[in-house]
Structure formats: structure tokens, C-alpha cells
Symmetry: none
Subunit: 214 residues, 4 copies
Amino acid sequence: MQAPQDTKPRWERRKDARPQELLAAALDQFVERGYAATRLEDVAKRAGVSKGTLYLYFANKEELFKAVVRENIVHAIGEAEQDAAVFDGPSSVLLRAILMKWWDQICATQLAGITKLMLAEGNNFPELAQFYNEEVVARGNGLIASVLVRGIGRGEFRPVDPAVMTQVLVAPVLMLMMWTHSFMPTCEMPPIDPHAFMDTLIGVTLSGLEVAQP
Amino acid sequence: MQAPQDTKPRWERRKDARPQELLAAALDQFVERGYAATRLEDVAKRAGVSKGTLYLYFANKEELFKAVVRENIVHAIGEAEQDAAVFDGPSSVLLRAILMKWWDQICATQLAGITKLMLAEGNNFPELAQFYNEEVVARGNGLIASVLVRGIGRGEFRPVDPAVMTQVLVAPVLMLMMWTHSFMPTCEMPPIDPHAFMDTLIGVTLSGLEVAQP
Amino acid sequence: MQAPQDTKPRWERRKDARPQELLAAALDQFVERGYAATRLEDVAKRAGVSKGTLYLYFANKEELFKAVVRENIVHAIGEAEQDAAVFDGPSSVLLRAILMKWWDQICATQLAGITKLMLAEGNNFPELAQFYNEEVVARGNGLIASVLVRGIGRGEFRPVDPAVMTQVLVAPVLMLMMWTHSFMPTCEMPPIDPHAFMDTLIGVTLSGLEVAQP
Amino acid sequence: MQAPQDTKPRWERRKDARPQELLAAALDQFVERGYAATRLEDVAKRAGVSKGTLYLYFANKEELFKAVVRENIVHAIGEAEQDAAVFDGPSSVLLRAILMKWWDQICATQLAGITKLMLAEGNNFPELAQFYNEEVVARGNGLIASVLVRGIGRGEFRPVDPAVMTQVLVAPVLMLMMWTHSFMPTCEMPPIDPHAFMDTLIGVTLSGLEVAQP
DNA sequence: TATGAATGAGATTTCATTCAT
DNA sequence: TATGAATGAAATCTCATTCAT
């Protein structure tokens, strides 16, 4: 069952994989229970290790949480930034790609729970809130704004205020994310087709943005 | 020593007012910090009483929270139910009145924080979630659905599924509520005019609901 | 058995006395075990209360320790400062009184253990060391130096450097303190008569300090 | 591959040197931080090995500390015992040599920190205290006492109680050691010239001890 | 009715020690 | 021999809840 080209002994592969396992377990637990209510002992149990092991890899609960965010969300933002930097086509295509990637990789996954968590508990953990705003909100919004600036600069988009326009784009997606992830499991929500929603949102917004072609 | 026009001695009025004061303090604290992070000591301090006094009126933290919800939200739902029961005019007027009351008394006030709190922490406190769904979500939705049924029965509304239609009505209001109450303080949102939003929402929905007048 | 003029109920007197009891227990434990090795649970047990009770009175271990130092050592320094401020006689008498008070109230008592503790563990707890140096070492030395300045100003003492002379006075007393409090119980020390030692020290030093009377 | 003039292969020389390296690192760490506050991980890091390696050479923290004491202090006492056993000259010369060796090799070096450490923490680690008293205090004092007995037996010294006289000799040296090793870094001490001190101490003591030469 | 001192279970974090490789 | 990942007991600190007054 082992890939033959894997030359490392089992425990060494384990060692390398350990941080990922811990981060995965932490993500599950944070999303399931929230930040404050997550007990590190439960994270450890979930990862099949002891409490102390967590501290071999992460200095404390806060750093563990930051690592989860970095590993998942910040990483994805970085990728999107790369994509944007080398992209050569129309800005509308780039913008659509970025928003869809955001939806597919974050909003539509378990990671949406992290966003919820920050909304819910950010107030009680100011350092976490600051980190999240700097690493996620600012960078994410900045990326979108930069695409808008690009489009405006290339004459593809009408000259709008990029910061405000970013909010106009981001807000509905946040809403949809909260909507589709039933925050209160027992509170049934009417079905929304996320892809249709995203498609419509992006379509309408882009057509409003684009300079009319004569 | 007592003001003569007061039928009750001062301390007795105090006694009667006490639970209200405690509930007000608890509401403030719950909204400000969330459920788990609210320390009963802070609630007591805020109300100007001792921790022990809280337990004279409320069996425990959970009951205190339930009382806050009952006193404020459930109470308002009850009033709306009363209003609906005696209302005699067109269903569209009734529906508009109910939604506007919801907005004005709950969504536009501090109480929106309770909704946020339940969305955010409900998972971690199943008994609270169950209570909230039974007393607030079910009754609130039920009220709206009943008005829809009334309108359909009276030939005012087109025959739609009341449960689904209720969701369609409720969802945007929840969205707006979350939107206007900045969940993440640092994350600036584009300005929305809540009254215009509500007006448009209700107007459009009602006109779609109403049977065409020949 | 109760003094009749004591009008407070027993537990109220208890409440007032509680911090003192905790400080006494903490002093015992700190002196017996050192700072790091003192477990707050043991302090609590010694005072006949629970762990949590300690935290009603002292924010944390460090503050508890500081309170012990303040209550005992800093307090005594303050008294000595008062004494010195109102004293009207010869500086040599004042100096002797201050040194003897130091010996009797601190060096010859359990409190000498605090000095030992700071010498031994100060390095590992920089904030504690800073506190101790500011509140105890600086003020204590400052008091002695001020008496020297007074004596020099009044023509009673020869013009020496007060700071250096303070060290010359303080050092042997510290030594004697360490000596008489066997730090390693099994390491027998030759008997020293502390009073004779102090008497000689002060006598010699003063006679060296004093301006020759023609 | 090995340097030919080396009879042992490099890794074997390494193996032999290893315990010494560990002991040196441990000494540094113990002196710097005290016994309790020394973390074996830091010792290992300092020696450039892994934590586990420490346990290949020393059963546990206590044994490591004992080994440090043996390697350094007990070893020096043994040498002095050898010297004394074969020494053939006047007892006063022998005594002076022993005291100066003690000063130069222990008191004036980093090893003085071990003495401080035992004074400070001995109480908390009874087994360590017992070991130290048996291996260091008893043997060291015994050595000095034996020289005194030798001198008395040879008619060089006046007939004093050797045990008491030993304390009289040892005490000031301990004092000086504590004095010169600033125990509280911020607490400045007046400068003392250790060599002058030792010289005077020994000179005065010996002249008091020696039988008057007619 | 009101107080607030007291409790103790439970959370995070540290570190000596073990052991599979 | 050497590693270093893993363990788990123990320490500090928090806070919902109780209860003597």
C-alpha cells in the first residue's frame, strides 16, 4: 500500500506530517466549538497525541490558531496574489477568477467557520482580531482593490473608488457564506444555490463596472 | 419619610425593579462579550449588586440568559402575536407592520446582538440553541407564516408555501441586521440605509405576493 | 473569651483578618521553600483556605510576594523613615537606632529569609528583583545615607561619601544575617553572638565616623 | 580518513569527551539559573546534543548535578587531600596553600555559584543537601581540621579545638565568596580586594595559631 | 432580601523523563 | 551511541456556584 518511492521510515514521515495533522485537528475543533471553547486537550485527542505534543509545535493556543489561519486562509490569499501578479488577460476575467476561488476554497468549505469565529469572538481576543484583520481582511481586500485599479488603469472598468467597490463586492459573499453555513443548525434556511448566486453577483457587478463597448 | 403619592414604600419598588435592572445589565454584558465570555461577576457589578444577588433571581447563567431573551425578544413576539390576532385590516398592512416592528424593536437595537450571539455560540450550548429556536425562531417564523396563511385564505395573497415564503422574507432582514451591526469592528462596511432597504424589501415582496387587482 | 467591646460578628472579623492570615502563611512558605518552589496551593492550605481564595486578595503569585515584602519589610522601612524625620538628637544615636531596629525586626527574624530568597532567586525573576531593589534596597540604603548626610551637615560626622559609607555599614549586617540563618541546615556554623557583633560593628564604625571632640 | 597519529578514531575521542562537555554545559546552566530553574533541555542545547543524550550519561537531573559537583569540587578536595598527605613542611605553609587553592580554584571561579546554589536551594532538595554536606562540607572541613590536628600534634599550633577553628577559618572565606559574587546584580557592593583579604585573613589567623617562637 | 467570601473543577502551560528508531 | 518526538504530572490562574451571616 505504500508508494514504493517513499524511502523514509514510517515514523519520519509521521514527524514531517505531524504539524499538518495538528493543524487539521485544530481547524476541526476551532470550527466546531469556537476559539474560547476549544480546549487544547481536545485538539490533541483529535490528533491522537498528548497535550504536551501540541506545545512542541505551537507556542500556545493563540499561535496555534494563527497557524491554522496562515496555513489555510493566508496561504490561499498568497496564491491568489501570485495568480493576479502573472495574469495577463482582461481584468474582468481575473476578478471573476479571484472571487470564485475565494468561494470554492474558503467560503464553501469548513474554513468558512473561521470567518464566523472571528466575527463572533474577535471582540474578546483583540490580538487575534488584529492579526486577522492585517493578514486576512487587509490583504484580501487589497488584492481585490488592486484588480479594480488594474482594470481602471487599463480602461476596462469605469473609474470607481476601489476601496468602496471592494466592499460592495465582498459584502454579499460574506453574507452568502454565513447563509449557506447554517450557523444555528436547527434554524432552517431557504435553499440558495451558491453557484447561481455567485454567478449572478459577479455578472451583474462586472457588467456595471465595465466600460460600455461601442 | 415616603413620598405620599407612592403607594409602595421605596424598598418595595426597588425590589420589584431589581430583576429588570439585572436583566438590563445582563443584556448589555451578553451583547458586549458574548455568552461564554460573560462573567456573572461583571453582570452583577454592572447592575450594582453582588454576585450572590443574581442567584436570588436566576437559577444560573443559562436561566439568566433565557430570561434576557424572554424579557426582550419573546415578549416582543408575544405583543406582535396579540396585534396580529386582533388586527382586522388587509394582510399586507399587517405583514408590513410586523416586519417593521421587528426591525425597529429588535434588529435596529442592541437586541440584534443576541441574534449574533446565538448564531455565533449556539453550537456550543445546545440547550440554549433549542430554547432559542423554540421560543424565538419557531414563534417568530410561525407568526409571519400565519399572516401569510391569513392573506392567502382571504384571497389577498397568491397561494404560496407559507414556510418557504417566510424564509424568503426573514432572510434579507437577518442579513441587513448582521450588516448594520458591524460584527468585526475593524472591517468597515459600505453604508446602507436600513429604512430604504426595509421599505424596498417589503414593497417588492408584497407586490409580488399580492393578487393582481383587476 | 471574646473581648466584650468587640461588636463585629465573628466572620466579619475573620474577613478583615484574612489578608493578614494569607500574608503570614505566604511568608512562612516563601521563607521555607523559596519563591519558585512555593506552590500557591500550599500557601492556601497553610492558611486554611482554598486555592481560589488567595486570588480574591492577590492578583497572582508575584503580587502575593510583593505584598508580603510590602507588609513586612517596606512597612518597617517606612517606620524608620518616620522616626528619622522627627528625630532631634545626635546623628550617631539615630544611626545606631536605625541599624538596631533593622537587626531586631528583620535580620533576627524570619524575614531574613526573604533577603536570602532575593539573593538566591532574584536573577530568575527580574521583575521581582527590580521591585525589591526599588522598594527595599534603594529606600533602605537611602535612609542610612540620609542620616550620614545629616551627621555630616551638622558637623557630627567626618565628610565621607555617604553612598560608599552606607555600603560599608550595610555589608557586614547582611553577612551576619546570612551567617546566623543557617542556609544549609546541616552545615554547622560557629556560634556568633549577634548582639555583640552588632554592638561592635556600630561602635567601631561610629567612632571612626565621628569628628574627634577636642 | 583518520589522522594517523591519533590512536583512537575521532568518534571514539568524541565519545570520551562527551561527558565532560555535558558537565561543562550543566555547570554553566546551574550556576546561571540555579538548580530548580535549570531545564535539561537548555543544558543539552548548550552542549550541542539532544536531551536524550543527557540520559545516556546521567540517570536524571539530580545525578547530573552530583556529577557536576564531583567533577569539579569533590575532585579538587581530593587533590588537596593528596597534597596534604604527602606534604612534608610546616603546617602553616600547608594550611595557607590549602586555603589559597580553595580560593583560587573554587571561590574565585564560576564554581562559587554552586556554593551559592546550595545555600539558596539546599532546603528544597534534601537529598542534594545531604550529598553536598557529605562530599563537600564534611570532607573540606575535615581536611582543614586534619591540618590543624597535624600542626598541633607537631607542636606548631596552639592546642585549639580543630572543629571550631575550622569554622573560624572557613566562615570568612564563605563570606568573601558571597561578597565578591554579586548575588543581587543590581545591589552594588563596595569593592574588596580578594587577595588582600585572603592574605590578611590567613596571616592573622596563622599568627594567632602559631606557637610563639622564643 | 442581600451580601461577598469561599470553593473547587477545569483550563492553559511547563518540563523531567521515556523510548522507538 | 544518539536522537528528538512524545508523554503526563504538576503548577498557575479563572469563574460559576454556594452559603454563612
